[in-house]
């Protein structure tokens, strides 16, 4: 919302409320417009003034006509008509005007009025001395009438009237004063006074006019403000209505969220008293909302011996008002069945930090926990039940194959060797499957320690020599391995080495050599195992580290392997903060390598 508009509205409202302190309403009027109205009024009365002057001028001509004054009267008449015509033209021009330069129009009007006054003044000055007493009285009254009659015509601007009046009276007064008769001299004193009184009336009238115009404009202005205010108010009301509609919509949305949510939701107050709950909460705990609302969620649902979500725990939760999530809590259902629920508590706090309510979400995880337990038990049982018979099978065959029970027939020995080898393969598969399962469920624990990587590589070379011998493959260390320390799980790292070395042995041609190298690459310890095998087929490259990945099933049958080895290696290396990859070798064969971060001694010390 526009704040300047806010402020504006407030201003107008305060004007309305405290009118006493505000300036008079007429001050709101625009001075130029008031002036314009005054000029306009003058022009509106102009035809009347001209008409009256012409008519009265006609009567005067008729009254004063005589043989000796014929020329003068005729001249006067012509003057009167000319001035009248000029004023009428001015009047026409005013109504066709294209500009609002009022002071200019007023100037011309004032000249016109002065001219008209002067024509009458001429009459007074020229005709008065030359006529009879009766005619003089007539003329005097005529002039007085013209002066008085000018008030309504010219007083919209008082000084225009003053010009007009002075133009009539001044020559007349001069004639009176110089005529000789003492009565006329007295009149010469009285006449200007009469004019002064008239001017002061005109002055007052002009103020009344101006006030009237001012008020008219002020009210027009107020009316405009008022309608603007109304428009603004309407806009604001519309905005408020819109906001209300939006709030209602989001309220409905929220209500739908909680109503349809599969998770139980309670809103509770600071004493854990239930304020509201959703249908899922009813389903989870078997209580209808009427049974729980108004009661303590903790007392109704949670056994008192629970370490979290008991009364004391709640007190400290309310004090801290921090969200809590993932609380696994035993709960009692209405039918006394025990559930395990995962609670998330979100305190709602107002802007001064007071706790308003707590949104409590909880999910029944009883079955999930049971499923996890069963799976763990199943895996453990499977592992035990498979290993026990395999122990007997492999053990028996191994004892036979040692020859301690006497030399065996060649064919028998061949068969028992096959049986032992495949028993071992089955065992490897079980071990790998268990490993993968543990890694993927995040249950594999590694026990990292600072390890001398060069020693570990030498050790793996010794451990795997026998396996390489079986394939007629030599295994050698390339160069002298530099001494390096990494932070890793020894047993798991040997598992990785064994996997890579046995793969390299299996896929090397008979009589070939597997080379192992330890080097420092980009501040990482890199162990490479290189063979001269047939390389990795292009279509197999992308899934080589996947589960049950084997390039050629015929080769697998021949050479053994579960297809899980590299998948396990990748996960183990990543668990230890490293990476594993492979590359083609110049001149045929493949290099598999993994990299581990070097141990920072300080970091090890603080671990």
């Amino acid at each position: 919302m526009d704040h300047s508009k806010d402020a504006a509205v407030l201003d107008l409202v305060s004007t309305g409320e405290s009118a006493a302190a505000a300036p008079p309403v007429r001050e709101l009027a625009d001075r130029r417009k008031v002036f314009g109205d005054q000029v306009d009024l003058l022009f509106r009365h102009s035809p009347t003034g001209v008409l009256i002057s012409i008519v009265v001028g006609g009567i005067a001509t008729y009254e004063l006509w005589g043989d000796d004054t014929r020329d003068l009267i005729s001249l006067w008449c012509v003057l009167m008509v000319l001035v009248g015509a000029a004023r009428h033209l001015l009047y026409r021009a005013y109504y066709k005007r294209s500009d609002d330069n009022y002071s200019n129009w007023l100037r011309w009007f004032a000249i016109g009025a002065f001219g008209m006054g002067a024509v009458w003044g001429f009459a007074g000055a020229v005709f008065f001395p030359a006529h009879t007493d009766a005619q003089q009285v007539f003329l005097s009254f005529l002039l007085a009438g013209m002066v008085a009659g000018g008030i309504p015509v010219y007083s919209a601007v008082w000084w225009v009237y003053a010009l007009y009046g002075i133009a009539i009276i001044a020559p007349f007064t001069y004639i009176l004063a110089t005529f000789g008769s003492p009565q006329f001299v007295e009149l010469a004193v009285l006449v200007p006074m009469f004019l002064a009184v008239n001017i002061s009336i005109a002055h007052r009238l002009s103020r009344v006019f101006a006030d009237g115009f001012r008020l008219r404009h002020a009210y027009a202005h107020l009316g405009q403000d008022h309608s603007m205010l109304n428009t603004q108010l309407q806009d604001q009301i519309e905005e408020l209505l819109q906001a209300q509609r939006e709030i209602e919509a989001s309220g409905r949305k929220l209500a739908l969220f909680s109503e349809r949510a599969p998770i139980a939701v309670f809103e509770v107050d600071r004493n854990a008293t239930v304020l509201e709950m959703n249908p899922s909460a009813e389903n989870t705990f078997g209580y209808s909302s009427t049974e729980l609302i108004g009661r303590s969620m903790i007392r109704m649902l949670i056994p008192s011996d629970e370490p979290v979500l008991n009364g004391e725990w709640w007190q400290s939760f309310v004090r801290n008002a921090r969200p809590e999530a993932g609380l696994k809590v035993r709960c009692r259902r209405r039918d006394a069945v025990e559930l395990v629920c995962e609670f998330s508590l979100t305190p709602l706090v107002n802007d001064v930090g007071e706790l308003i309510s707590v949104i409590t979400q909880c999910q029944d995880i009883t079955q999930q926990l049971e499923a996890e337990r069963l799976k763990k038990e199943f895996t453990s049982t499977l592992s035990h039940e498979l290993r026990t018979p395999l122990t007997s099978i492999i053990g028996s065959l191994q004892l036979i194959n040692t020859g301690m029970l006497g030399e065996l027939d060649t064919e028998v020995s061949e068969l028992t060797s096959i049986a032992e080898r495949n028993g071992q393969r089955l065992l490897d598969l079980i071990n790998d499957l268990l490993d993968i399962d543990k890694i993927e469920s995040g249950k594999l624990q590694t026990y990292p320690e600072p390890l001398s990587l060069d020693e570990l590589v030498r050790e793996s070379l010794v451990l795997n020599r026998a396996f390489a011998d079986r394939f007629g493959v030599r295994m050698v260390m390339l160069g002298t391995p530099p001494s390096m320390t990494v932070y890793a799980d020894k047993k798991r790292l040997i598992q990785v080495m064994t996997n890579l070395m046995s793969n390299a042995s299996k896929f090397s041609p008979e009589g070939g050599t597997v080379e192992v190298q330890l080097e420092l690459v980009d501040r990482m310890a890199r162990v490479s195992v290189m063979d001269r095998g047939s390389g990795i087929p292009p279509e197999f490259r992308s899934r080589i580290f996947g589960r049950f990945a084997q390039a050629d099933s015929a080769a697998t049958r021949q050479k053994g392997g579960t297809g899980l080895g590299l998948a396990i290696c990748k996960r183990l290396v990543e668990l230890m903060g490293g990476r594993i990859a492979f590359a083609d070798r110049e001149g045929g064969g493949t290099t598999f390598f993994f990299e581990l971060p070097l141990t920072d001694r300080a970091a090890v010390a603080t671990r």
């Binding site: 453990s380 592992s383 035990h384 290993r387 026990t388 018979p389 395999l390 122990t391 007997s392 492999i394 053990g395 028996s396 191994q398 004892l399 040692t402 301690m404 065992l427 624990q445 026990y447 047993k491």
Partner: protein, 129 residues
């Protein structure tokens, strides 16, 4: 390191097949004297009578599991000093750590290699204080 060579072994194991394999391995390859107990409830009596140098316990047995039997041995004065080695199909590192914390001399994971078993036991024997 004990002064006498490892000779007398008592093995508590419910699976008869594995009993035989272990017995053959230790007697034929290891040239040791072996007493096998199938019922863990009778184990302590047999051990008392046989007076072995070292006791091997299976972990999972019906009636009483290896760790329980191990604790019982620790409560029996005549046998509490005997070194105990577990043979277990449970092979995770945490379980091994648990066994060592309980005072076991060592653990051998199932399936073991009968060819190597005597050497594995002798190596544990020689590492005893």
């Amino acid at each position: 390191m004990p002064t006498n060579p490892l000779n007398r072994i008592c093995y508590v194991e419910d699976d008869e097949d594995i009993q035989r394999i272990v017995r053959m391995s230790l007697e034929r390859i290891g040239k040791m004297t072996v007493q096998v107990v199938g019922d863990p409830a009778q184990a302590i009596e047999t051990i008392k009578a046989f007076k072995p140098d070292l006791v091997m316990l299976d972990w999972m047995m019906p009636g009483m599991d290896g760790p329980t039997l191990f604790r019982k041995m620790r409560e029996t004065p005549e046998v509490k000093h005997l070194p105990v080695v577990f043979i277990t199909a449970k092979a995770s590192s945490s379980e091994m750590d648990e066994l060592r914390a309980m005072g076991a001399a060592g653990a051998i994971s199932k399936p073991f290699s009968p060819k190597d078993l005597p050497d594995q036991l002798r190596s544990i024997w020689s590492s005893l204080p």
